[in-house]
Structure formats: structure tokens, C-alpha cells
Amino acid sequence: MSDTKRLVVLGIVGATLDSGKGAKRWEKWRPTVSLGQMEDLLPHRIELLVEPKFTALGRQVVEDLGAVAPDCTVQLHGTNFADPWDFEEVWRTLYEFARSHRFDPENEEYLLHITTGTHVQQICMFLLAESRHIPARLLQTSPITRRDRRERQDRRVGRYSIIDLDLSKYDSIAQRFDAERAEGVSLLKQGIPTRNAAFNRMMDQIERVALASTAPILLTGPTGAGKTRLAKRIYSLRSQRRTVTGDYVEVNCATLRGDAAMSALFGHTRGAFTGAVSDRAGLLKAADGGLVFLDEIGELGLDEQAMLLRAIEEGVFVPLGADREVRSDFQLIAGTNKDLVVAVGRGEFRSDLLARINLWTFRLPGLSERIEDLEPNLEFELESFARHQGRRIAFNAEARTRYLDFATGAEATWAGNFRDLNASVTRMGTLAPGARITADVVDEEVTRLRSDWRDVGDETGAPTSFGACRALVAEVLGDEVAQSVDRFELVQLADVFGVCRRSRTMSEAGRRLFAESRKARSKTNDADRIRKYLLKWGVTFAEVTTK
């Protein structure tokens, strides 16, 4: 009718949902074809983006729409999404389409069909509509459930709903994306409901980075902080969201030395060196299309570092003894507990490689730095013990209190971090009589942990190496300050910060820091001394302990 605007639907030909062969395809719900089958929707035109490799499918969709909606014109736009799972790539392609497309909102009304396409394409379409780059309302289609067919005699081919972002009626979609994001973050945390706000914030960020980018990620933090687990989880998340197709490959660089290192990573040809009796593809090739986790990357030799840099930047490298380059497209996650900046200073690590992998750096705190997460992690360890041993164990109430008191108290340094917690639970679980961890078992375990940690580090929680001192100061006061402070001051600062962090109150910190002089005084106000000292550096006790 001339007084109403023409209805135009924009969408993507769905490689899976819209496919179907032979006459049987009509028995299947195909979202894009269903647009022409609705009794109460009559598009004047349907414009479909189709990847070149799905052109035949696109033509079939056009033909079938011609049968069900004879008055509707259907246009195919060949669009090359080099990688339809790559956020940046998809965003750019759709953004360019939106910019170059001539919209005529005076005469046409647009609906953006977001049911087909990859997850990433759907999100990008949602965002483009939300930002009004595409002046459309969102259109979602869904099949009629078998139940509705049976019980309500619903014979329709499918249903649809229109969501007008201008009217903010998109809660359900926004929630869907939010829910999936939350799910992703939870996956990264292995479902552990961690409480440390900084850690949770970091997991949010990692989730976003992991899904939006394939750039290298650097995970730092003390040994046992969970770098390996996290790398694996990032892979699971990306694999679940189908933003990665290849395998997960993990290697600890400390175990690679000499020729073996080169060949393990990059492969070799037969006869490349003594013992190279056959071709070997190498780990980077094995991770083509996937993800490589190089733990303790600081231990990698300089030659391997150079080769790795090129492999990251150009996706090619030369296997040992080969005269031709090999291509592999992998994402790198590197792990280190070394200060790589220091390693660069000593000439042990290439500064260009560090620059390349330092784009997304996340420092995983040790267990003692997020002691409030000990309890949820304890639950997790109990669960996973049950899973692996096939035997559920539990603390009795007294034992639980006793264990938590010790584990979250000042004495527990958790020098080996989550690895220590895992070992501790395994021991208690194994020794637990009748699947109950009793107070006796806990007492034994506490004694054991004390002796394990006795000679490791500093019982006050203060960092024991200069690198760690600097990292801690940088964390609290920022990189700039940390770099401008003399070693003389820095070590003291780090010690004070470390003790503060392991103390519940300023007074407790005061008792430790001024333990000797207290003996000589009748009146003490150590808390105030600490407050003033911290104030000199522009921070409060609360900031030191929560940052």
C-alpha cells in the first residue's frame, strides 16, 4: 500500500539453519525461508548476505522464498567474512556493509534478522542495530515447538518477534548476551564463585579479550597461581563459542633445551640432526587453527624466541633442516613467573618478543593475595577430588572451621598457591576416615603445611625477591612510581605492603612491623605510624589491601 512503508528484511544466509536438501527441506524449519512463510509478515524485499562458499545454498533460499512469497524480491549480497567467528573481522565487514548500503528510511522500514549467522555475526548485528549504524528493528524467528504443534494445533511454519531497540524492549536479548557472557566468565573460573573483586574483574576482561581477539595473551603470576588451568579454560571457552577450530597444545619451555627445543616447537625434517630419523611437524604446526600455551616462556632460548616472534607475526616459520616455510595460524598464550622486563634487561629475553606478547597481560594473583577465594576454591577442590576418586568427602563442622582458620590466617603463606591447596585437599581426602575429614586429620595437615612452608619465603607475606618487591609496589602505586623509587626505599615499601596485606587490621600490621620496639614501650600507637607512613606514599591501608 502506498501510504505504508515497504518492509525490508536484512539477514545472513545461515550455513546450517537455512540448509536442507531435496523435498525434505520443506519439513525443516529454515529461519530465512520462514520469513516468507509467515501469515502475518509480508516483506517487500529480503536482502541476504551470503558467503561465497555458500552461494549455492543462497540460491536455493532465494528460489524457495520465490515459491512461498511470490511478491517478495530477494537479493543476495556476496560477502566474504574471512573468519565469521572473528569478532573484529565480522564487525568490520558488517560495518562496511552498513556504511555502503543505501538505506531509505523515508520509504522503507527495516528489520534485521539475527537468528542466522554465527554467534559473533549475531552479536555484531545486534550492536550495529543498537548503535543505529543499521536503522533497523531486530527480527528473531523461532520454530513452533513439537508440543505446540501437538497440543495447540499450531500449524504455522514458525514464529517471529520484532524487537525495537529504540523502545528498549530488548531486555531478553540483552539478557541473553549477558547470560552468555556470565557463562563464559564462569567457565574461565571453572565455575568457582570467586569473591575477590579484582580477580573477578580480571576474569571479565579475559573473557572479553579471549572472544574478541586472537592476539597473544601473557599470563604472569607466581607458580601454582593457575596459569595452566586458565589457558586451558580460555581454549574451552573459545572452543565452546566456536571461535577456535584447531587443537590445544601446551608445553613448558623449561623442559625444552637445544635442538630438541627447536624441533619440538617448530618441527624438523628427516636428518636435520642426529636422531632426526623422520619428519616431525612440531607443536606450533599441531596447533594450527588452535591455541598454544607456552608456559615459562622466559626459559625459551634466544634462537627459539626469534623464530617464535616471526611465527606470531607472520604465521610462518622454518622447521629445522627444512628449506621451506611452514604456515600455522595459532593463538599464543604465554605464561611466566619471571619478571620478563628484568630478563630483557639482562639480555635473556628479546624486547621485541616481549612487546609483541605484552599486549594483553594478566597477572594471576597468588592464593594468599586473594585469600577470600580460598573457601570457594576449597569447595572446588573437594568436588574435583570426588570426581577423580569417585568418593565424596566432607569436613565435619569443627574440622572445617579449624582448617579455614589456619588456611586464611597469617601463618598460611600458600607458597605453592593453588597447587598447595590441591595437594592439601588430596591428602586430607585420602586420609579421611569414612569420607569425613575430622579435626584430627586437619591438625595433621596443618602441621604438615607448616613444615612445608617453613623454609619457603617469608612468613609475614612480604615478598622475598627484589623482582617481587618491585611488582608489588608497582601494583599498589603504579609502574611509574615503582620505577622512580630507589631500591633502598622500594624494598621497605614492599615489605610494609606485604605485611599489611596479610593483616586484617592496621593494628595487626603494626604489631608485626614494630614487634621489637613494642616491647620497650608502654603505650603503643603503631596503627597510626603505619597510617602516616602510607599517607606519605599517597595510599591508605584499605587501598593497599584491596588493590
Binding site: 500500500m1 520443506w26 512463510q37 501469515e39 511478491d71 500449524r155
Partner: protein, 341 residues
């Protein structure tokens, strides 16, 4: 201006189609308020919109509210019914046969012969399917004096549609007719498949043979080619005297072929038992041509809400009395002042 309430009676599309036909025939304009007001998705759906557009094109009508979802339609025909060549393409969701139903009788009174190509669904469970029209309704209409032919070019099953049928109409005058149950019946069962294994048709026929064994049906299997989608229907044609009653059942996914056949057989047996001349669906179709012819009579075994709605709608446009003498589920239906008997 005739004002109709869309929620009356059946409350669906029937009132609109009947009103369109009668408006074209009588030249009276009408407004339909609360179109499909009683339904979960009220307002015009695509198939209704097609019917409005088709009626408007043959009657040169002025139309308001001819858009999807519209809950008020104003239709004012020019008074001229133009014969000629038409093509009405209906999307899969609706049946092309419903559009045929809307324009058929008016075209008998057009200023010249017409050839109407109907594209879309021809075999649709929610409408009189083409074989029903061909075997039951059109022969009766021809007996009333209509010069009509209907040809199937390509079957269109729900939900793909894509079928094509051609209707040829030569202007002619309808005469009153009384339909009576003829003595002696010949039963013919036809099972049709398209893009489906013939075994489905075999199972349906086997069931029909058993259930209708008292009436010794002839069994036929029919395979339609050129259909886009899979499709299956079974029909039983009961010839009695000059008339044919036709009963149709459609196969559906997850519905056993035997059940499809058994349900049709049940309808056949009930109708045979009732002694009525006409079954439920033919009754819906017959009222309008009979009213336009000025007379007619028949007994029906099941009086449907569609038929009642038609009676009501006809009364809004024409001064032809229609009396319903209800007997149980069925009724004796009498159209016109002069008793035929």
C-alpha cells in the same frame, strides 16, 4: 453501507470471503469491523489480504485497510465485474483455493470469460483442497448452470506452496437446485503422495479398504510429481445419484498413515449413516451460489460454524431467506421463498 462484525460466528476469514463475493455480486459496499477479532492474532493475514486484492481487481473496488494486521476493511466495488485474464499469487501460508472460492461466483457474472491463474497452495489442510473442488463442488455448480473448468498444473502442498491451478469461467446463470441423497453409492478411495514413499499410500488404502469394506471401495494410488515439498492426502469420493460427496484427510509428520485414513473413513461412514445429501464442507460452499440462484435445498450431516456464519452474512446482503431446520448435529437447509418440493 453494510457494516459487519468480524467476531460474529466463526470469527475468522470466512465472513470476509463471503462478504467480498456478495459485495461483488450485489454491488453493495461493506465495512468489516474487528476483522478476525476473536483470534489470537487478529486482523488480516496474508491469505485474507490476497482475497481482498483479488476481489478488488475483478470488481474495480475502492478499498481501505488492505494491509497486514488491519482490523477494519472497507470495500466498495465499482459495480462492474471485469472478465479477463488474472493471475493471483498467494504465498504458501494461505491456500490459493480460498481466493478461488472468493472470485468464482462473481466471475460467472462478469462481462466476459475469464482465465484465472492461481499460484500458491492447492492442497492445503486448512482449506478446501483442489481435488475436493474438482470432484464434488464444481460438478454440482455445473449442474446449477455454471460453465467452469479447473485444471491443476502443479500441486502446491503446505508449507512450500508453489502450486498452480487454472480456472476458466464463462459467464452463465445459476439455477436453483435441490440436492438429495441418491440411491445406491459407489465409493472410490484415492491416496496421493508427492515426494514420499508409495508405501504411505498403500497403508492408507489398506486401512480404507478394511474400514469401508461394506461399501466395496475401488482403490487408487496417485503419485504427484513436480511438487516442491513432500505431501500426502487421502480422499474418498462417494458417488450417489448425480452427486459426489468428497472427504479428505491430510498426512502430517508424526501422524500415522493409518490414522489419517481411519479418520476419513469415520467421516464417510457417519455421513452414509446420516442419510444427508451433503457433507459439512460442501454445505459451506453451496449456500452462496444457492442464494445467488435464488433457491436451493439440501440436508447436511454436520452443521458447521462456517455454514452458520455464511447464513448470517448472506442475510446482510440479500433478501433471500435461508432457513435452518436443525436435527441433532445436522440440519435441513432451505434457501429461497419458493419451496422446491
Amino acid at each position: 453501507m453494510i457494516v459487519l462484525d468480524g467476531t460474529h460466528g466463526e470469527g475468522g476469514g470466512q465472513i470476509l470471503r463471503t462478504a467480498l463475493s456478495l459485495s461483488l455480486l450485489t454491488g453493495a459496499a461493506f465495512t468489516l469491523e474487528r476483522v478476525r477479532g476473536g483470534r489470537s492474532r487478529p486482523g488480516l493475514l496474508r491469505q485474507h489480504l490476497c482475497a481482498v486484492q483479488a476481489a478488488a481487481s475483478i470488481g474495480g473496488a475502492y478499498v481501505e485497510g488492505a494491509e497486514l494486521g488491519s482490523q477494519r476493511v472497507l470495500f466498495a466495488p465499482s459495480g462492474q465485474l471485469a472478465g479477463g485474464t488474472y493471475r493471483f499469487a498467494i504465498g504458501s501460508a494461505g491456500s490459493a483455493m480460498l481466493v478461488l472460492q472468493t472470485v468464482l461466483v462473481p466471475l460467472l457474472h462478469a462481462d466476459g470469460p475469464s482465465t484465472v491463474t492461481l499460484e500458491g497452495g492447492t492442497h492445503n489442510p486448512m482449506a478446501p483442497p483442489l481435488p475436493f473442488l474438482q470432484s464434488s463442488f464444481l460438478p454440482l455448480l455445473r449442474r446449477m448452470g455454471a460453465d467452469v473448468r479447473l485444471r491443476l498444473d502443479r500441486p502446491g502442498f503446505y508449507p512450500a506452496g508453489g502450486g498452480r491451478a487454472v480456472l476458466e469461467v464463462t459467464p452463465s446463470t445459476l439455477r436453483p437446485v435441490e440436492v438429495r441423497r441418491g440411491s445406491g453409492v459407489t465409493v472410490r478411495a484415492v491416496a496421493t503422495v508427492a515426494n514420499l514413499p508409495p508405501s504411505i499410500a498403500e497403508r492408507e488404502l489398506k486401512k480404507l479398504r478394511r474400514q469401508l469394506r461394506e461399501h466395496a471401495p475401488t482403490l487408487e494410488q496417485e503419485e504427484l510429481t513436480a511438487s516442491l515439498s513432500p505431501g500426502n492426502l487421502v480422499r474418498v469420493e462417494v458417488e450417489h445419484g448425480d452427486e459426489v460427496a468428497c472427504f479428505v484427510g491430510f498426512g502430517e509428520r508424526r501422524r500415522r498413515a493409518e490414522n489419517v485414513a481411519a479418520r476419513v473413513a469415520g467421516q464417510v461412514l457417519r455421513w452414509l449413516e446420516s442419510g444427508a445429501a451433503v457433507e459439512e464442507h460442501l454445505a459451506d460452499q453451496l449456500l452462496l451460489p444457492m442464494a445467488w440462484a435464488g433457491g436451493g435445498a439440501f440436508d447436511v450431516d454436520v452443521l458447521s460454524e462456517h455454514t452458520r456464519t455464511n447464513v448470517h452474512t448472506i442475510a446482510q446482503f440479500m433478501d433471500v431467506p435461508v432457513t435452518l431446520e436443525e436435527r441433532g448435529e445436522g440440519a435441513g437447509v432451505r434457501v429461497g421463498r419458493n419451496a422446491l418440493r
